[in-house]
């Protein structure tokens, strides 16, 4: 007895194939959706902000007058923030990665640390803000200065650097380590002279990505208490400061008061996106340049 009637199957095939091409179109449109939003977003931001960008806008201090206002303070603040975040995450991230990949026995402790790091990566940034507020700004009495903000951000982006460094270190071929041990080098000499230099491009890529994450975050700094309404240009890591995203935030919510603030926010977004885009391009360049070397 025949269960499958091939006539029947053939007849239905048309509608099944139609469903398939329909689905394909829908899936494609869904994929495009995100990209269309991206284009609209960038278009909007450019349309609102581009004409406001000029040398004065970049070099002026903050002001309540949109015609005079500039983001020099936020640019300098962003720079100081990076100056804190970069070395701190680098040391903590790379140190952790070396420990996990080279020293830790593959046991409970290292898997505990790994689980911990992946959970840390999922903690909302605003909670890091609370940590920073409680520990750095208050308990250590730093106040809402660059150092407090930088340390908070460093912890926030730490998982990014740890994971990237781990991957980079793991990718260093074993034969290079063997060559070094074979010369009578100690473990630390081998790590310092062979493993780290070879893993450096990967580590740097991770670091840049982490930094670009850090200078795009807003919530932790707002929580730590950046006033950012009218604040002087910081001179060092013990000064109060503002950074580009925080500036965007205040200008956006104040745009109801002064409509031009929305343009200032858009112009600042353009600058922020350019900075991020440049950083990511550098990261990609490094990755591509040093990809296959052995």
């Amino acid at each position: 007895m025949k269960y499958i009637d091939s006539e029947q199957v053939h007849k239905k095939m048309g509608s099944r194939l139609l469903a398939n091409s329909l689905a394909k179109t829908i899936f494609f449109l869904a994929t495009l959706f995100g990209l269309v939003v991206l284009i609209v977003l960038i278009y909007r931001v450019l349309a609102d902000g581009l004409s406001w960008i000029n040398m004065d806008f970049l070099m002026n201090r903050l002001s309540t007058d949109p015609e005079k206002a500039g983001i020099w303070g936020a640019i300098v603040g962003t720079f100081w923030l990076m100056l804190v975040v970069a070395p701190v995450t680098m040391v903590l991230g790379v140190g952790t990665a070396i420990y996990l990949e080279e020293y830790a026995a593959k046991g409970r402790i290292s898997s505990f640390i790994k689980t911990n790091i992946s959970n840390l990566a999922g903690v909302p940034s605003v909670v890091f803000g609370i940590l920073g507020l409680t520990v750095f700004a208050r308990a250590l009495d730093l106040g809402s200065v660059v150092l407090a903000g930088g340390l908070t951000m460093a912890l926030l982006v730490l998982p990014v650097v740890v994971v990237a460094s781990q991957e980079a270190i793991r990718a260093v071929p074993q034969f290079l380590r063997e060559a070094s041990y074979g010369m009578g080098a100690t473990k630390w000499q081998t790590i310092k002279n062979v493993v780290l230099p070879a893993a450096l491009p990967g580590i740097l890529t991770g670091l840049i990505l982490a930094l670009s994450r850090a200078i795009g975050e807003t919530a932790p700094l707002v929580v730590i208490g950046i006033p950012a309404l009218l604040i002087p240009v910081p001179d060092g890591i013990f000064d109060k400061f503002t950074i580009l995203p925080v500036q965007i935030y205040y200008w956006t919510i104040d745009s109801a008061l002064v409509a031009e603030y929305a343009n200032l926010a858009a112009a600042t977004i353009v600058i922020l996106l350019i900075v991020l885009f440049a950083m990511n391009s550098i990261a990609i360049l490094i990755r591509n340049k040093f990809q296959k070397r052995y």
């Binding site: 007058d65 200065v145 009218l230 002087p232 000064d239 109060k240 919510i253 008061l257």
Partner: protein, 301 residues
Amino acid sequence: ACGGGDTNEGASGNGENSEELEGSVVIDGSGTVYPFMARMAENYMGEQENVSVEVSRSGTSAGFKKFLVEDGTDFNDASRQIKDEEKASAEELAIDVQEMKVALDGITIVINKENDWATELTQQEIIDIFLSSAGKKKWSDVRPDFPDEEIQTYGPNENHGTYEFMFENILEEQELPENINLQQDYSTLVDLVSKDKNAIGFFGYGYYDSNKDKLTAVKVDFGNGPVEPSLDTIKEDGDYAPFTRPVFTYLNTNMAKEKPQVLDYAIYTMENAQDVAAETGFAPLSDEDVQASLDALNGLK
């Protein structure tokens, strides 16, 4: 909690106005006074390039909490007078507080541009609208010829002096409506009222003044016909007097003695208060009031 920042050690001694000063001045408090103080600070920094003046606006009450702590802020802007509890805690901390009246403001009742029925209200109608116990839920409850639609009330939240002025001085400490929409930021309030046809809200005149294109100010009938709030009517003895209030900034004189730039800024503020007030939507003080504050400040030198 994070006042002081990097204070220069005050080694430069008594500050002459002409002298080059440096260091920081930290100001928080009233959102109402903020536009005035921000403009003042910008002007000041134009003259004293090495002094940085930082102005925030967490609200009068919230600001006092940052002012009245060890190493607190140097100034606290206020849209109401300091309370007795606040004075008490200042004494406890041995903080000498100098009150500086800087301008006059009028509580302005604002409605949506599309609202063409409530452009003129009596003082009592306004009180009833913002009084929970009056039960004016719909516009038609206020006046029968008003639309049969729900009133949406708006105002600044309890961090703000403006809220307290409304609650204590206008509503005589009676509850506001259950569903009133209270906000931290005046910008949000302006936005909300400008987009809600049935909205009615209140805040300082300055925020109305700079958003006249988005909002309508209710003309208030205090008994002698409707009065539009304006720099002319807002005066201690003006037509808008019942809703007029002075706004202040409070100076921590300990800080002023320690940091010459703080005292210098205080004096500068008083010297320029009348000009800046007019520019930022406040009614200027009388010359006598200004002089009184200046005398007190010069006494601190």
